[in-house]
């Protein structure tokens, strides 16, 4: 199932679909295999059923330096439950049995490097992955990866942050395709209480140097935050830690876990509507 000639939705199609309805997009992030393969898949089903426009799926890594405690623990739970790269790809394949919305993965570069860049992207494409974001791969180190991503029709995603200069924003926009992931906080992943003014400024600055759609993540945890960043000009928001906290708080009650994930997804998606 190569992306180019498949029935899978592309990011640009997704953004069009949302803008026709005057909506932003809502993209949840969870780690594949957290807390275990089957429960994780059931969680993704809830996300899709309750309105996720696209999915961001983490491939667990032993040393996730860009992640705060919530996502670190999710990585650890997934690894302890026996997830590995082959099972991660199998997980995506299973997701493809029930949805065609864009699926991106978030990963650390060593996992790509060990499999071999070419083989990794080939397998990503074959299993229905739209995009790859490698948290520790800045454009400086990415020329080979970007070439291979193009070859297999996978979108390569890069991060942009407040500390990113305008010059770098241009480079990032040249290297990226699909969307640009805007880091909303100075820090690692994790739920926060507010969206900083600087995030709003950054959205505006990015707009000038980047033609790609913007998704804002890191610290977005409340429907109000989603609304705020979309009103500031982003196309949508990525919410991870706030959903993963539901997983970690309900490890002994899977039914409640799934129900809460569903309810929150619904609210977060609702917040993308009518923010013009």
């Amino acid at each position: 199932m190569s992306l180019e000639n498949s029935s899978l939705e592309s990011y640009s199609e997704m953004f069009k679909r949302a803008s026709k309805k005057f909506e932003g997009v809502f993209v949840p992030f969870v780690v594949a295999g957290d807390p275990d393969f089957d429960t994780s898949l059931a969680i993704v089903k809830e996300l899709v059923k309750n309105g996720a426009d696209a999915l961001e799926i983490g491939f667990a890594f032993s040393d996730p330096i860009a992640d705060g405690p919530t996502v670190q623990e999710a990585n650890l739970r997934a690894l302890n439950s026996g997830i590995n790269i082959d099972k991660n790809f199998e997980f995506i394949k299973k997701i493809r049995e029930f949805t065609s919305i864009p699926v991106g993965i978030l990963i650390y570069y060593n996992l790509i490097y060990q499999r071999g860049i070419d083989l990794f992207y080939q397998q990503a494409s074959e299993n229905g992955i739209n995009s790859i974001l490698s948290a520790d791969l800045p454009p400086e180190e990415a020329s080979e990866v970007v070439k291979v991503a193009k070859k297999y029709g996978v979108n390569q995603i890069f991060l942009a942050a407040q500390t990113t200069t305008n010059e770098r924003l241009k480079v990032i926009s040249e290297f990226s395709s699909g969307f640009t992931y805007l880091v909303s906080v100075m820090g690692v992943t994790g739920a926060r209480n507010e969206v900083k003014n600087s995030t709003v400024d950054l959205i505006k600055r990015l707009r000038k140097h980047n033609d790609l759609p913007l998704l804002v993540g890191f610290g977005i945890s409340h429907p109000n935050h989603v609304k705020e960043v979309i009103e500031a000009g982003a196309e949508g928001a990525i919410v991870g830690s706030a959903l993963i906290e539901i997983i970690s708080q309900n490890l002994n009650d899977k039914e409640r876990m799934l129900q809460k994930i569903g309810e929150n997804t619904l609210k977060l998606k609702e917040a993308t509507k009518n923010c013009l």
Partner: protein, 393 residues
């Protein structure tokens, strides 16, 4: 970035976007001040008056006689705070001050780098926070106290295996969050560019002194230079000045733990494979997927599943050789130097001593002139050594 930070194919800047501007700022400052007269005068002053440089090159006559080689010791163990680490912490600490940073963070395994950073922080009046795996905090109570009494705040890290690798992860996370006012003072020639180049720069003083000293003493270069390798800073520091002398054998000694075959070791170059950890491409200990493995060595300074990128380059080009020494062999090295020379080496450095003994036992090496970089002293390890030797103290 002005330089690409590569040693052959190794090195680079594999870090989250948030850190790129900080690395650029650091590279700029490093390139500016490394040739700045005032900076270098000040650093020289502290290296001499605060840390105790130059260190001697001492002919260890008793083991020389016993082993049948001429064995010199580069006495980094004589430095303030007990190891070569202070060369780098003084350099980076001063750089942080020149950069106007008002907070320094560091990682530490056993505590050696943490103590050196705490001392420099106290001296330069910059607050220091040290990340240390909670396992190591428990194992190294005394060193935690030494850091704290110099005013450093020691933060136990409860993630992962709760050891050095996890402390480094946590220090990076702190830096990502507080990048504007904070300098991350990395303790070895590892991490993203410019760290491997910068830490090497501050450690080459070992090699510079040593080369001059051996030429004065022997009127010729040594046949071999032997140093232990954790992240790689003391070894690069002494190797660097001999790299272009092709006849000088350079040998890095890794923590062999329970032996390579046991799978419990820290011999990254001897038994690892290429991968990306903590910001650079180098050798790492990992599984087939690329998940990082835990290292094992009785010496905390060698207990790390990565190694500096330049070491990987020296290995692949064949310019340096890397050899594992097991825990029990290292303990033998510790005893050997203590008993015959009255010098108690750090357990890290004991690995280099143990390898020198092995090296000397090879018939064609008899009579050769060898320099061992004695990177640190054993005071910090006395409790552990006593325990391992079955002595109650």
């Amino acid at each position: 970035m002005i330089m690409n930070g590569k040693f052959g194919k190794y090195g680079g800047i594999f870090v989250p976007e948030l850190l790129i501007p900080a690395l650029e700022e650091l590279e700029n400052a490093f390139l500016k001040y490394k040739d700045d007269n005032k900076f270098n005068k000040e650093l020289e002053f502290y290296l001499k008056e605060f840390a105790g440089r130059p260190t001697g090159l001492y002919l260890a006559k008793n083991i020389s006689k016993k082993l049948g080689c001429k064995i010199y010791l580069k006495r980094e163990d004589m430095l303030h705070t007990g190891a070569h680490k202070i060369n780098n912490t003084l350099g980076q600490g001063l750089l942080a001050k020149y950069m106007g940073k008002d907070r320094i963070i560091a990682e530490t395994g056993a505590g050696q780098h943490g103590i050196a950073t705490a001392a420099v922080g106290a001296m330069l009046d910059i607050p220091v926070e040290v990340y240390m795996g909670s396992e190591d905090v428990d194992r190294q109570r005394l060193n935690v106290f030494r850091m704290e009494i110099s005013g450093a705040n020691v933060i136990p890290v409860e993630n992962g295996a709760c050891t050095l690798k996890d402390a480094i992860n946590q220090a990076f996370r702190d830096w990502i969050t507080n990048v504007e006012n904070t300098h991350y003072l990395i303790g070895s020639t590892m991490g993203p560019h410019p760290y491997p180049t910068m830490v090497k720069h501050f450690q080459t003083i070992i090699g510079k002194e040593c080369r001059k000293q051996i030429l004065e003493l022997e009127n010729k270069l040594p046949d071999a230079v032997i140093a232990c390798v954790g992240g790689g800073s003391n070894s690069i520091g002494i190797f660097s000045e001999f790299i272009s002398d092709k006849n000088v054998e350079l040998i890095g000694v890794e923590g062999g733990g329970d032996g390579i075959a046991s799978g419990r070791h820290g011999a990254t170059l001897s038994a690892g494979s290429e991968g990306i950890l903590h910001g650079s491409l180098s050798y790492v200990l990992q599984d087939n997927d690329g998940q990082i493995a835990e290292a094992h060595s009785l010496s905390a300074g060698l207990d790390y599943p990565g190694v500096g990128p330049e070491q990987s380059h020296l290995k692949t080009t064949g310019r340096a050789k890397y050899e594992p020494i097991t825990d029990s062999e290292a303990l033998r090295g510790f005893n050997l130097l203590s008993r015959y020379e009255g010098i108690m080496p750090a357990l890290e450095s004991s690995h280099a001593v143990a390898f020198a003994e092995k090296y000397s036992s090879v018939p064609e090496n008899k009579g050769k002139t060898i320099i061992i970089n004695l990177s640190g002293r054993g005071d910090k390890d006395m409790f552990l050594a006593a325990k391992l030797l079955g002595v109650k103290v």
